[in-house]
Symmetry: D2
Subunit: 284 residues, 4 copies
Amino acid sequence: MECAILIIQCRDQKGIVAAVSQFLYFHNGNVQEVDQYIDNETGDFFMRAKWELESFAIQKDQIERIFAETVGVKFGMNFSLHFTEPKPRMAIFVSKLSHCLFDILSRYYSGQFEVEIPMVISNHDNLRSVVEAFGIPYYHFPITKENKLEQEQKQLELMKEHGVDFVVLARYMQILSPAFIANYKHQIINIHHSFLPAFVGAKPYHAAHKRGVKIIGATGHYVTEELDAGPIIEQDIARVKHHNTVEELVQIGQDVEKVVLSKAIKYHLAKKVMVMGNKTIIFN
Amino acid sequence: MECAILIIQCRDQKGIVAAVSQFLYFHNGNVQEVDQYIDNETGDFFMRAKWELESFAIQKDQIERIFAETVGVKFGMNFSLHFTEPKPRMAIFVSKLSHCLFDILSRYYSGQFEVEIPMVISNHDNLRSVVEAFGIPYYHFPITKENKLEQEQKQLELMKEHGVDFVVLARYMQILSPAFIANYKHQIINIHHSFLPAFVGAKPYHAAHKRGVKIIGATGHYVTEELDAGPIIEQDIARVKHHNTVEELVQIGQDVEKVVLSKAIKYHLAKKVMVMGNKTIIFN
Amino acid sequence: MECAILIIQCRDQKGIVAAVSQFLYFHNGNVQEVDQYIDNETGDFFMRAKWELESFAIQKDQIERIFAETVGVKFGMNFSLHFTEPKPRMAIFVSKLSHCLFDILSRYYSGQFEVEIPMVISNHDNLRSVVEAFGIPYYHFPITKENKLEQEQKQLELMKEHGVDFVVLARYMQILSPAFIANYKHQIINIHHSFLPAFVGAKPYHAAHKRGVKIIGATGHYVTEELDAGPIIEQDIARVKHHNTVEELVQIGQDVEKVVLSKAIKYHLAKKVMVMGNKTIIFN
Amino acid sequence: MECAILIIQCRDQKGIVAAVSQFLYFHNGNVQEVDQYIDNETGDFFMRAKWELESFAIQKDQIERIFAETVGVKFGMNFSLHFTEPKPRMAIFVSKLSHCLFDILSRYYSGQFEVEIPMVISNHDNLRSVVEAFGIPYYHFPITKENKLEQEQKQLELMKEHGVDFVVLARYMQILSPAFIANYKHQIINIHHSFLPAFVGAKPYHAAHKRGVKIIGATGHYVTEELDAGPIIEQDIARVKHHNTVEELVQIGQDVEKVVLSKAIKYHLAKKVMVMGNKTIIFN
């Protein structure tokens, strides 16, 4: 059933929940989910409400305006309105490693993600055949130091052309330029193969092996200009032992990476992630 | 800061959240936490709201009546009202095994539980000295087949006398009579040393060892007349290996038992547990 | 580097480890891994040793005989000898659900499994195209009550023809006949979607939902004649909440299923699983 | 039953396991546990063997000499010999926070640790009564900048006098001097309240809260001169949410701290920890 999702952020004030609830009730909204969070340190208020459109008294294209006029303005709200249809459109970026990509494709195939995947973009060509077996177009953009910005520009054009809403870096081994990131603020999800903030940067499994840690991890986060420092969406870990080689850490870690990335995607798709400074609120 | 906690259960209807929010807003309640859940299978609605009393416009002893008249009756609500002060009063029942008891005492000492502990009751006398070192009275009620109901009656009298609100069975190796249980419906928390419904009844670690499971667990649940079948509040597990003896399973399991039991107590204390049939809703 | 793996089972006696170590040392074996386990309840001894063949003084086809004559007979050992080359040959059985199959294919693609996959067998045809994109033959054997034993016979013939060593039931929704199982004793790995022994049989997620458990799980085990009662190889769990529907339990559980099944396959491939009665020893 | 434990470290060479096994077998040792590890990067060999003394043909006070002469010298081994009796003697250092201390006392009481605890040392006096209820002497050493080295000297004297073998810092909020550490090399176990190497130093829960991580952790490690950088023995984590305050992180983390610390103590007591450079091998 088609639903609307309202995401609200404003200064905490008395009566917000009452006002939003009243708005939805008054217009006959059948509320499915509602969550709120008050950050006592900053005094910020966050809310997410999801309701069914079928019985709702306001037409889809009028909701934003009417909510703004009757509720939003009064409380000085930043809010955004989303609908579960049409489905969001996700571009997947990948290099040579296949585990995260195949895991996403598997979930897409079984209907676990409410998403369209108009493209897989890679700087290598090796994963084309499997991607195409899932019915998804595969675009090969070789990257060199020289052509990087130019290729990014072409990627962006392709993404605009196909209406891409957000990007998943499924172990894409290229650092995106600030200009690219600026086009998709808080809409690029990366999987980093360590429990951040430990082992920022390249070769975290090597660093973990060298330090002799007993747990390794993975972190799904939004990409910002500073490497591996964006808002964390999801993390998880796995136990390792002294006899595990770096190669074994890589294998053990891949299982964590793919589960963490898929959870981050799922939260993002459901509009359950709100960014507050450099942190996330997950309404899950 | 003293707070009120309102627990609501009724048939799902449009406008409930709006009405409750409006009630709290209208009377100047500073809301700290609010959660709701609709069970789509049964059509039942559950809600928990916590707000500060200081600024609230209704006097403490009038809230229940006024809420009933202005909101409760309209929606046919079952509701209960609680206050964070005075603290709930908890009786701990224990046999010979000390790990859960000492863990609770440790949390009590550090102020992790908002609770009074007017008594520890045991069918053995061995744990008296440590309990008394924490400043808590220790009552020894030896139990035999013959005197069991009689002793239960004395325990109940002692509990009433000291205003006990709820009971924690911290590995109490006696099965309580239905009459005892009826006095504290959904107010007796037991820790069972398996991940229920696996290994109901006595000696679950022996049964787990015999079956060759790779995980063992523990379950915190409300006690009902049927053994180990009451509503589950919390569960967790630990990994075990083929070389672990039953004695090692017992040791490994004790760490799970005490953490699970303490979480169940914490949820119960905060009125975050609602019972729906034989299941629980945990507003956590 | 090609290795030999020796798996030993016998009555516990003094001097076994010394004798085996001496054998490997005397013939210049470069030992990579050696594990042993004594079951003190039964007095049984279990051992696994892996060493490099390159420098070993005995020819590959003579090791079994010479070990038997010089060590095995003396201690009354049951033992089996394996080599890392050629790779074991695994048949995958699947019905309509794709998540375990795709996860296995993904690991196969990235070289995580040291295995050949000569066939995927299914009672449905829907997963053919993806399987074939991975270069693996797909065989469709529709199953009815009437043709089941006949189809099993054809499957067995196909498996023999292609030298299948062991079978993985990747959510294959058919119960295999005792005759089929007898052909591959302790060589058929099933994934059951609960933490056994809880929720044996059909629809475990429905049963878990009804009981109101806070954790769900999955169990990888060898198939025996009794349903879901064979030796457990691996188990894991995931946390769930009161608001999770059965459909959500299914999705959450699938992530556990595929990781558990892949670990069971990995242990089996490395000959790290030994069966003792209805339990397993995992030399991991 | 009294056992001997042999800990061996040397260059990897063929025949080590055979020689040690032969030694134990020849002298009629009933082997309980034997583990070995070869570090392929460094070419180092590590081994731990535990056997019963009762039937052993060599007298307790002759084992070290005879092993050295017949095996140790041949392979250039560094080795140490330990006995399960008398029990190791552990000093506990604590400041004001009680959770780790009480957890250790609880395990001590139930016989989970094979250890003597001749003293608890604290820079505060608040935990005296509970410690003494467990029958353990409590020593109060107030620490100031000025008297620190002097007090450490007195602590060392007290420890020597009571034959302390190793030290557990159960949330002791003082940094030990290099001189103190040198007296107990790899014999001082600290619990750090983060998953190292993330959040080294003071106030890790504050840092974790600020970074917005979704998991927090704890690390048990040997103390070396560099703060929080010693060999890691054990780690674990817990999940946290955006709404958790720093105070809640502290509470959630305490459960992890105490379990991790107790595991580190257990491994250390059983001589299952070997230090290799700045890493540990855990024969568990």
